[in-house]
Assembly symmetry: C2
DNA sequence: ATTGAAATAATCTCGGA
DNA sequence: TCCGAGATTATTTCAAT
């Protein structure tokens, strides 16, 4: 084998190659990943074996990725959530990637976004209370080299959507 | 039956009553909800039937909530993500809850946070491109009654954590 | 690509410790 | 609360279209 012309893909599935049926499956599973293949099959009007085959292909193509449960935060002692809006010092602007990688290691961090605009980073944290938030902000962010300034926004309420929109014409 | 003294719970499970073993199960399932009961049982050193019983209890107590798959955004035509930092006009400050409920109906919205600080809302949106972002911001946000001002932050990179930290002493 | 049927593996129930 | 054995469902494989 002199050269791999498959470009690393195991089968003929094109990365962009999903149809309406695949999109319907993705929609259902984003809202409830515990649906059985039989239930999904009934919903989309296909045999369970065909539905299973499609799901397998979507997984193999890395279109379907991880599956995660939601847990009630209160049970774990989480009483407060916040967004930390971080501004980096100029000399750290070049090493933002490693900064992101460090930030996401902190257990209280849920996500970290590198953004344009007034701030450089937006970090979602979950904490016990305001005291914990203060300690976390000081110990892990304000005093971290490269951080110029932090703005803290406490989250009073939140809503989530689990299904991504379909923004592309399908074959 | 004159009065329901069980307060709607089917068993004796207290909302706050989880132990170290439960916490270990929650940790595993947050990172990978496709683990089988047998695999979880092996990991935590319990029989599959006992592990299953604990998971059932965690579900009944609504400690374990929804399960959702992640989907590759590119496949759906999503080429750009952004945060919209929204400031509301004074007269809409009282109806923020219904505002949140309206915002989360927009298909391009992933989450909407009601926050303290410089802005009132932080909204995560997924779009095709900058043109789509412009249209979405104008049609669904800037021109919406109650919105005073919007700041747009384009997301260049992101990291996520799926496991919540354990911030409480367990029995 | 889709199907039904068969094989395998998972979840769930329950009686007893 | 934990366990194991049996019942029930689900997933996976596969030969054929």
């Amino acid at each position: 084998m002199a050269f791999d012309r498959t470009n690393g893909l195991r089968d003929n599935t094109l990365p962009a190659g999903i149809d309406r049926t695949d999109a319907a499956i993705l929609g259902l599973l984003q809202n409830n990943a515990r649906l059985s293949i039989k239930e999904i099959a009934a919903e989309i009007g296909l045999a369970p074996s065909s539905t299973h085959e499609r799901i397998r292909r979507l997984r193999d193509a890395d279109i379907l990725r991880g599956v995660h449960v939601e847990v009630d935060p209160k049970v774990l002692g989480i009483g407060l959530e916040a967004l930390l809006m971080i501004e980096l010092s100029k000399h750290r602007r070049s090493t933002v990637d490693s900064f992101l990688d460090e930030v996401i290691q902190v257990p209280e961090v849920r996500f970290a976004f590198l953004v344009t605009g007034r701030h450089d980073l937006v970090v979602h944290v979950v904490v016990r209370d305001t005291q914990h938030l203060k300690d976390l902000a000081l110990d892990n962010f304000t005093n971290r080299p490269g951080v110029a300034r932090i703005e803290t926004s406490i989250i009073f309420d939140a809503r989530r959507r689990y299904e991504l929109p379909l923004l592309r014409q399908l074959g």
